[in-house]
């Protein structure tokens, strides 16, 4: 069984959601007047733990599929994939490098996260 049958009534009265952290989303400003490498620093420094956590969950997922393959993939990501950043258009290449520097997360992993969309369209 894939889930409950699609018999849901159209819900009403859900808006606005409660003013709690469970539903609310923080707002940040990215200053485009700053050099690209510095634009996201104030955000990602504050959120580095959650980025690391996400990447770790992804690593765990790949490891669970095939531990040896995962080791090879992430060795490549950490040591080689980062070079791909140099071929990306600006200012995005520098923004990604800036995030890697600010969070001390390997550049290849930050890049991998930023190209998730292209990877997962199969």
């Amino acid at each position: 069984r894939l889930g409950p049958p699609q018999k849901e009534e159209c819900v009403t009265g859900k808006y606005p959601p409660p003013q709690t952290a469970e539903y609310q989303v923080p707002k940040y400003v990215v200053n485009l007047d700053l050099p690209a490498a510095d634009r996201w620093t104030h955000i990602v420094k504050e959120r580095a733990k959650s980025i690391v956590n996400l990447l770790q969950k992804f690593k765990d997922f790949v490891k669970a599929l095939d531990a040896k393959l995962a080791e090879k993939i992430f060795d490549y990501v950490d040591h080689n994939l980062g070079n791909l950043t140099n071929t990306l258009p600006q200012p995005y290449a520098d923004e990604i490098k800036g995030i890697a520097k600010a969070t001390e997360i390997p550049l290849g992993e930050v890049l991998l996260y930023n190209i998730f969309y292209e990877i997962f369209t199969v």
């Binding site: 894939l2 889930g3 409950p4 699609q6 849901e8 009534e9 159209c10 819900v11 009403t12 009265g13 859900k14 808006y15 606005p16 959601p17 469970e22 539903y23 609310q24 989303v25 923080p26 707002k27 940040y28 400003v29 990215v30 200053n31 485009l32 007047d33 996201w40 955000i43 990602v44 959120r47 959650s50 980025i51 956590n53 996400l54 969950k57 992804f58 765990d60 997922f61 669970a64 791909l84 071929t87 990306l88 258009p89 995005y92 923004e95 990604i96 995030i99 969070t103 930050v110 996260y113 930023n114 190209i115 998730f116 969309y117 292209e118 990877i119 997962f120 369209t121 199969v122």
Partner: protein, 253 residues
């Protein structure tokens, strides 16, 4: 994902979306959740991109992700992007890029470019229709006046279809999930039918943040992959984003 662009009887445009991500990337059997989806939810943020202290555009993203999958230029346009799964997918685009073919645009960087440089709905529509891409996808675009709304179905090379609002002929909303609108959705993943049923039940008279949020909060449009719902109204420059949760019983996708 589910994106909706809709027009009220006065010709005011609303654009909203559910961002679903994390399919098949680890199921937590204890909590009945997707592992990656749960990790993404605390990372959701609204971003105002400013120049000289003025807002240039707004976007919703995850911490550390620089691309724009949902965004707006206040007063000009609104935009969202949905995944289009295809064997001729983005992984091929990445391989081509690695081999030195840099003609294609990265999906979420192109949307940043559109938000940064577009001066009109028409200009954005042309860019999103014509530029070569690294991955297939659906671009859902809304403008600032009556009838300006469309879903652009993209292969990596070209636009396959542009589906447009036509309020004069009764097409007052467009609802796009992750399937070509002229084909039936996968039978185990039909969010389109309940979504359209709820939009029809809402009626054009009740189009607004509340009405559309209710549609996007109805299961299975809302499902275990849904991280957030974003609501946009271009003329007012309003972008509201809410984290979403789907309590059991709830479809996994």
């Amino acid at each position: 994902c589910t994106s909706i662009v809709a027009e009220d009887p006065a010709g005011k445009l609303y654009h909203a979306r559910n961002l679903d991500f994390g399919l098949f990337m680890g199921w937590d059997f204890k909590n009945h959740t997707w592992v990656i989806t749960e990790a993404l939810r605390p990372m959701i943020m609204n971003i105002e991109f400013q120049m000289k202290g003025q807002v240039v555009y707004k976007a919703v993203t995850y911490a550390g992700f620089i691309g724009a999958i949902t965004g707006m230029i206040p007063g000009v346009l609104t935009m969202s992007m949905n995944e289009r799964f295809n064997l001729d997918g983005g992984y091929l685009g990445i391989i081509e890029w690695l081999l030195g073919d840099h003609n294609g645009k990265w999906m979420s960087f192109l949307t940043r470019d559109v938000l940064m440089y577009s001066t009109s709905y028409q200009q954005a529509k042309e860019t999103l229709s014509k530029d070569e891409l690294l991955a297939p996808g659906y671009y859902i675009l809304g403008g600032n006046s009556s009838g300006q709304g469309c879903v652009i179905t993209r292969s990596r090379e070209k636009s396959l279809d542009i589906w447009e609002l036509n309020p004069g002929k009764g097409v007052w909303y467009l609802l796009e999930t992750n399937y070509d609108h002229w084909k039936a959705p996968l039978f185990v993943d039909d969010r389109r039918t309940p979504g359209m049923r709820c939009m029809n039940q809402t009626t054009q008279q009740n189009v607004g943040f509340a009405g559309i949020f209710n549609v996007l909060s109805t299961k299975p449009v809302l499902n275990k992959l849904t991280t957030y719902t974003a609501l946009m109204q271009v003329n007012a420059g309003k972008l509201e984003t809410y984290k979403q949760h789907c309590d059991d019983p709830c479809w996994p996708w």
